[in-house]
């Protein structure tokens, strides 16, 4: 299978993330006020469609990787799944015992937490274990920052169009803040490492 270029992966991921944000801003809020149950269901699952595309994109990227990359991807996904499984078990037992009060909306976090765990595990494997780099170069960081800025602007544009920043939109902005901080911290870390290397 032909290798999946990073450029192609990034551009398709950007399209999926913009579609996801558009669905979250414009379609999903309608599910709360929809009268009929079938319509409510339809509107509620619309944001899942871009995420299914992202899952397919990741599957294609992994299957088009070479043997070493596949090993790293699968080890990272395995570690992340094991961590999430353990957390779910602990949370489930605590909820069943009445110690924690969890509702169904917590399931929304399963996919993002899996992806965060996968990212951290992949970084650890590539950088700490195999002594290489993540390929997270300056262009990649600039792309990630650009995408985040674009998504924030989308939220602000919809808020401006509707004349108010709703709690939901504020929640989306707050949710993106940690991602922006991580990207900025990585950019700063790279700059400091480069500067210390030049000394």
């Amino acid at each position: 299978m032909a290798r999946f270029s990073e450029r192609r992966y990034r551009s398709q991921m950007a399209v999926a993330m913009v579609a996801y944000m558009a669905a979250m801003l414009l379609v999903w809020p309608l599910s709360r006020t929809a009268a009929s149950v079938p319509l409510k269901v339809l509107l509620a699952v619309v944001p899942v469609l871009p995420m299914l595309f992202v899952i397919g994109l990741m599957a294609r990227r992994i299957s088009a990787s070479d043997e070493f990359e596949q090993r790293v991807h699968l080890l990272a996904l395995g570690a992340s799944t094991a961590l999430l499984g353990a957390l779910s078990l602990v949370g489930g037992f605590l909820a069943a015992a009445g110690v924690l009060r969890l509702d169904g909306t917590i399931l929304i976090w399963v996919f993002p937490v899996t992806m965060i765990g996968y990212g951290i595990a992949r970084w650890w494997l590539l950088v700490r274990h195999y002594g290489g780099s993540t390929g997270c170069d300056g262009a990649s960081l600039r792309w990630q920052l650009g995408l985040l800025v674009g998504l924030v602007l989308m939220v602000l544009a919809v808020a401006w169009w509707r004349g108010q920043l709703s709690d939901f939109q504020a929640g989306l902005l707050i949710g993106m803040a940690p991602a922006a901080l991580v990207v900025l911290a990585l950019a700063l870390w790279r700059r400091l490492r480069r500067a210390s290397g030049e000394d």
């Binding site: 990787s65 043997e67 070493f68 990359e69 195999y130 290489g132 390929g135």
Partner: protein, 63 residues
């Protein structure tokens, strides 16, 4: 396993990226093989051996 990939690549004057392109793998993969952190599969080991025109046992040896 120990291997001579870094020396053989240096002998050809290739960068890790050059070798990666010739083997159709990533630069990270070449780096992991050269540092002995990753042992390639048999098909990839044969590919490396063919590229440098040497038998596998001349390039890879057990620790």
């Amino acid at each position: 396993m120990k291997n001579q990939v870094r020396d053989l690549r240096g002998g050809q004057g290739w960068s890790q990226a050059d070798l990666a392109e010739r083997l159709d793998v990533s630069r990270q993969t070449v780096n992991a093989i050269e540092t002995g952190k990753y042992d390639p599969s048999l098909p990839l080991a044969f590919k490396i051996a063919r590229l440098f025109g040497q038998p596998i046992e001349a390039i890879f040896e057990p620790d």
